[in-house]
Symmetry: C2
Subunit: 219 residues, 2 copies
Amino acid sequence: MTRKLAKSAISQKRVLDAAAKIFRDYGYAGTTMRTIADEANLKAGSIYYHYKSKDELISAVLDIGMHAVLDTVNSALAALPADADVRQRIETAIRAHLSAIIDIGDYTLATRRVIGQVPEAIRAQNMRLRDSYASLWQTILVDAQKRGEFRADANITLSRLFILGALNWTVEWFKPGGRTIDEVAHEFAAVVLDGLGKPGNTKSEAAPAKARATPRITV
Amino acid sequence: MTRKLAKSAISQKRVLDAAAKIFRDYGYAGTTMRTIADEANLKAGSIYYHYKSKDELISAVLDIGMHAVLDTVNSALAALPADADVRQRIETAIRAHLSAIIDIGDYTLATRRVIGQVPEAIRAQNMRLRDSYASLWQTILVDAQKRGEFRADANITLSRLFILGALNWTVEWFKPGGRTIDEVAHEFAAVVLDGLGKPGNTKSEAAPAKARATPRITV
DNA sequence: TCCAAAACCTAACACTAGTTAGAAAATAAC
DNA sequence: GTTATTTTCTAACTAGTGTTAGGTTTTGGA
């Protein structure tokens, strides 16, 4: 029956690339099949030969975007020597993450930008990947703490959320042509590992955190 | 002429509240005047008695949301004793920021969620406020560094972007009923000031950062 | 009670959305 | 070239968009 499988794959890729770019720029609801079609140099109706709905398109973009981050960070870590210390691991992971969400393509950018506005069903489907990625970081951090290279009282889960949040938000301000990714990654790693405070000046648990006279705002 | 100024303000507020909530849930393009109207218990056409366009609505929401963060953090800092140390200032600012974007209402949430997908003209208008807020943090951090309470080699601008990114991303994972804001703020402040590494183990500038054998990913 | 201003609603406008059926063009094996 | 298959386009449909003009109800002071 199927005598050929043709270059359908080529324009399917073209459509997907266009979709990623447009989703990134206009958000989920703001993206139009006709805009994607323009970008991919065909007509809106033709998209449906490759993808059977807008939701299937965004779904594909999200999967690719998430996998890109996961795979990039994973292989960057795998390429490290076995005896790499925490600082190397953290900075490498940060640099790989930033590279993925900034340089590798529009997929990761689109993913970070639209993940909050996509239909619930699609977001749920993307959750497994997000969880995998979270686990990757959690493992790095927990291991480091077990090996005694982190403060014993550090809350790893909250710290991970803090770090990944900062990394993800980078897409909102990073402009190519300014700072390099290496520069940013190095400074971020410094904050994560050393903090801003002067070494020796740390008194995390001894801080007068509970007995202050400041207003509690709303909470 | 104007014999009364009436409770127009009341339903104007009702419309605005509804708008904030819907914008937060569905994004800019995904939000419908009719959906907002439903939430505010009136018809779509009636919204135009209070606001003359959808853009004016989102604009109002953005302004309020941004002001809420700015004012909350500002007054929390002002309420601190004059001799408050860096740790107190940072933790207070973090707690106030988190309180604002999580508790004070849907406005800040909507602001954080849609700021990237709003028409350029509106985003530009909101920039002044964003810049003011950035300056506030920049001042705190620069002052601390001048007073010698921070590492001298810390890049304040990048650190500020790191911190604010992490704080802003909180809206993506924070669920009321789980961790308290105080808890999160305390741990975040600890990371910012002390880092995750063990005190005394810091070697930020002496780190073998440039001469590693790891792949540079794409960059 | 009256009445003008305020607040809201109805019904529609012009437009655009995602999607589809069927025709047309491009493609590749024979 | 012939022909079956793949790929694209055209043209439309329905549903929903922001917005508006004009009418209706509500409101509160006289």
